[in-house]
């Protein structure tokens, strides 16, 4: 097809799907945080990087393997996020939303700067866990096990998050608090605690994406800095009104990026931004957005 081997095509599509799963996990976290805190978490990319670094560090110093990191790193970074929420973000209640963006931008600079100082800008390799090395020959392409695992695990995590928010009692509290926090508080629900936990959860999702990406992309202090800008564009395209919308947009844009790498590699860096511009012209509220 168009002189491109199916091997290359499916290879790039898979890579796109993997990037898409990171977009989806990060978007999901941003959307959940924005829903309750009305803050766009600029530090999301830095916290994603922190997730990867925690995995690397507990592996190097404590001997904890990938599977342990998958649980421990999100917990540590999530706890760190909760401390940030309690000590700083909380003080911004009632102020313009943009102050939240500025504060978290500052936090991103601090976190990235500290890691840059201690670990330099070059990447650190992180081994694929032994259980997931190797791959399957599907006939039309070679499918590395680890990549298949990342896509499946992200998808399951995203869907589980969607289920909890849209279909459980806990999720209904969350959605109610998004609509009207004061009323929910009047029903005796501890909304401030919920806000803290929500921020922690959104941040933990970012850290989880970081751990997943550690064996694929090297562990670098700036690994999240450029990624977060693409994720912002994805958020603008999808609109933050819908959880499922964030997930679908994330995966879809990853795929589009992968396709662009095959057919017109020069534009692969910019295609998401071009799509964002088109969406703004055609449907300003975003594909899944409610008019804000």
């Amino acid at each position: 097809m168009f002189g491109i081997s199916t091997q290359a095509l499916f290879g790039q599509l898979l890579l796109g799907l993997i990037n898409g799963s990171f977009y989806a996990l990060l978007c999901l976290g941003l959307a959940v945080i924005f829903g309750l805190l009305n803050i766009i978490n600029f530090a999301h990319g830095a916290l994603y990087m922190m997730g990867a670094f925690v995995a690397y560090l507990i592996g190097a110093h404590l001997g904890l393997d990938y599977w342990a990191a998958l649980i421990v790193a999100p917990l540590i970074v999530g706890a760190f996020g909760m401390v940030i929420e309690r000590t700083m973000l909380k003080m911004l209640t009632g102020l313009d939303h943009l102050y939240g963006l500025l504060l978290t931008f500052g936090l991103a600079l601090i976190i990235q700067g500290v890691f840059l100082n201690f670990y330099g800008s070059s990447g650190m390799p992180y081994q694929i866990p032994p259980a997931l090395t190797g791959g399957q020959n599907l006939g039309f392409m070679f499918l590395p096990n680890y990549r298949a695992w990342v896509v499946c695990f992200s998808l399951v995590t995203c869907l589980a998050t969607w289920f909890v928010i849209e279909r459980t009692k806990l999720g209904s509290y969350l959605r109610a608090a998004t609509e009207n926090p004061n009323l929910v508080r009047a029903f005796g629900i501890n909304v401030p605690r919920m806000v803290t936990l929500t921020y922690g959860f959104g941040v933990a999702l970012a850290a989880l994406a970081g751990v997943l990406s550690a064996p694929i992309n090297q562990v670098r202090p700036m690994m999240g800095a450029d990624l977060i800008i693409v994720v912002f564009a994805v958020v603008v395209i999808g609109g933050m009104g819908s959880i499922m919308g964030s997930i679908v947009t994330g995966f879809a844009l990853g795929l589009v990026e992968g396709l662009t790498k095959v057919f017109y590699p020069e534009a692969s860096n910019t295609v998401v931004f071009v799509i964002m511009a088109i969406v703004l012209l055609v449907k300003p509220a975003g594909l899944f957005g409610r008019n804000a």
Partner: protein, 326 residues
């Protein structure tokens, strides 16, 4: 969200519609005096660099401080104009004023396109859109042949202004930069205090109300955006002539963040704040350059401290203390 406190908490200027308040006149006199004496005490290259950033921050503040639109992509106008100016002066051999005009035109056009897209969404989305489009411009600059990628455009000739003022003489260049800066500064001041500026402030305070009064607010927002982009282009073009280069640093998102920091430190929505903020940050970077990437950490910490405890900025606090607009 009617309960939101506006991003610029500065007291609105009580000056008469056209003229300057007394406090502003005094501050301007101090500024001019400082600019006249400074090159004999401080390295002029550093001063010119600081003035370019001060102009950049003033142009940025026009948008965030008076229309309430936080752009996180202003680096594209600074760096974009820098590239075009450098290319025009070096490859086309144009005189510096024409090269800068080309830079301004590029930024204004870019501002028109980006602004038209970005004002389709409000608040936080506006910010994310400007950031995303600026990142796109960054990648275009990285890949376009005329920018020379990582190398940038080096050894840009400073040439002769209007054909007879030799800009390679450092003090001559300094006075030209001061003149351009003061001209742009007064233009911004005049704009803010014009009927047009009053409508911008009305949009900042309450956009639905401004719409209900019959103003096509999107046109005003776009006009302000283009003006801010064009003035940023002026700063970028001037900077390319002063530093004799144009590089990726100026189109990177970190630069967009720096101008936000300068304006925040100096005081959002104050006339003199961006100038003070820019000089403070440029000086800090200059003196702390030996610390390497700790400078980023310090900048981040200043961001956090300013947002949490010092939202009025240096000039905003002074204005509040003396009870007069600055």
């Amino acid at each position: 969200m009617a309960s939101d406190v506006s991003i610029s908490a500065a007291p609105s200027a009580s000056a008469s519609a056209s003229g300057m308040a007394g406090s502003e006149k005094a501050a301007l006199a101090i500024l001019v005096a400082v600019l006249a004496v400074a090159p004999f005490l401080i390295y002029p290259f550093f001063l010119m660099q600081a003035l370019c950033f001060a102009l950049f921050a003033c142009a940025f503040n026009l948008l965030v401080g008076y229309v309430g639109l936080l752009s996180f992509g202003h680096a594209m106008f600074l760096g974009g104009a820098g590239y075009v100016t450098a290319h025009a002066a070096k490859v086309w051999g144009l005189s510096p004023e024409l090269a800068i005009v080309f830079g301004i035109a590029t930024s204004a056009f870019l501002g028109l396109v980006v602004g038209a897209l970005a004002i389709r969404r409000q608040g936080i989305y506006f910010t994310m859109i400007t950031l995303a489009l600026a990142q796109m411009v960054f990648f275009l600059c990285l890949q376009a042949p005329f920018t020379h990628g990582e190398d940038g455009i080096q050894s840009v000739p400073q040439g002769r202004l209007f054909g007879f003022i030799d800009l390679s003489h450092q003090m001559t260049l300094y006075w030209v930069v001061v003149a351009v800066f003061l001209g742009a500064f007064l233009l911004i001041h005049r704009t803010i205090n014009s009927p047009f500026g009053e409508i911008l402030k009305a949009i900042r305070e309450n956009e639905p109300r401004a719409i209900s009064l019959g103003y096509r607010t999107e046109r005003y927002k776009l006009a302000a955006f283009v003006m801010s982009a064009a003035l940023t282009g002026l700063a970028g073009g001037l900077k390319a002539i002063v530093a004799q280069n144009a590089s990726l640093t100026d189109v990177h998102w970190a630069m967009s963040g720096e101008v936000v920091l300068m304006t925040l430190v100096g005081g959002l929505g104050t006339i003199f704040g961006p100038v003070v903020g820019a000089v403070t940050i440029v000086a800090m970077q200059n003196y702390l350059a030996g610390l390497g990437s700790w400078v980023t950490v310090i900048q981040g910490a200043i961001f956090v401290i300013c947002v949490l405890t010092f939202r009025r900025g240096i000039v905003g606090e002074i204005a509040r203390a003396i009870g007069k607009p600055l």
